[in-house]
Assembly symmetry: C2
Homo-oligomer: 166 residues x 2
DNA sequence: AAATGATATCTGCCTAAGCAGTAATTGCAC
DNA sequence: GTGCAATTACTGCTTAGGCAGATATCATTT
């Protein structure tokens, strides 16, 4: 049985982790998106480009899993990026179902030029935080993600798991 | 000048607060939404109902500000909730531009019946966390939100503020 | 009090995300 | 090896969110 951090008698939505995470996400987007849009990029386009830079070569499937984005929607974002010459698609050689994505030189240049802007916005958001706080914040978020990822995967394979913790 | 928590030379998207927050948000939704949908509610419907329960009576404007939701989209979600008899709209008495929202008895019953499900999912997500961790996590998220909220409001009134921190 | 500007809600339009179904390919059981 | 289930990417359809304008009301200035 899981710990009872929240109890019905005392629960207020606005102090719950769920609400706070949702709000943080929205505020971070509002912080970043205008800067990207000025340079002609959407947030999802940026996400894919930076992921390609960090991961060298990847398939749409990996991006869907990492960013929990819809597979159909992703195909269309990749279409846009390919049309503008920032990445290329190649059928996977080991597994022909897959599509290997890699940045073109122009794409690499574009993403590198965006990085300072994004870092600036990130540092802007965390200006009041000490290094220790950022480190602890990172640790807690990673821990939450890791736990949820594992639990959700488990629930997908065994439907009974959804009530298992009740 | 803000602290330089992130530097271009060492930046990896997957260890940044921005990415981690986005991912947490997505995973929390995946955790909660199926349970709500089983009971015939969407996430946004739940959000409005619980906010009304906590805040007694509120206007759409407050919900937009709190949840950073589009005003037009919100009108339509409220339409749905009103049609199903869970809340009622009244023109504001002090200010006739505003609309006062309040739960009907049926609406209150509905939201109360959903709370255990939601708490269960929240506790499920935080099962590995100690009380101290949850408290610190809450504090850090609140701090981030508060900082961003203030900074974004400032940027809205004075456009120069967007580069002020560079 | 008249005029101007700001605020709150709503409406229509457009884009993007979510969902279901398809085709191609692979892995596995037998 | 054949058959069957699972995986990957894509396509069409539906729905919800984002954006720009319209309307009604209020606040402020003169």
């Amino acid at each position: 049985m899981s710990k009872q951090h929240y109890k019905a008698a005392t629960y207020k939505a606005r102090t719950s982790i769920g609400y706070l995470v949702k709000r943080s996400h929205a505020l971070m987007l509002d912080n970043l998106e205008p800067a990207l849009s000025e340079r002609g990029f959407t947030f999802m386009q940026w996400v894919i480009l930076i992921y390609l830079r960090d991961g060298i070569a990847v398939n749409p499937r990996d991006i869907c899993a990492e960013f929990r984005h819809d597979s159909g929607a992703l195909t269309r974002v990749i279409d846009q990026l390919a049309e503008r010459g920032w990445l290329e698609r190649n059928r996977g050689i080991a597994d022909r179902r897959k599509v290997d994505l890699h940045l073109t030189p122009a794409g690499r240049k574009a993403v590198e030029s965006l990085i300072p802007t994004v870092l600036d916005k990130l540092n802007f958001a965390l200006a009041d935080f000490s290094s220790t706080e950022v480190r602890e914040f990172t640790r807690l978020l990673t821990k939450l993600n890791h736990a949820l990822q594992q639990r959700l995967e488990g629930a997908a394979t065994s439907p009974a798991a959804s009530t298992e913790h009740v």
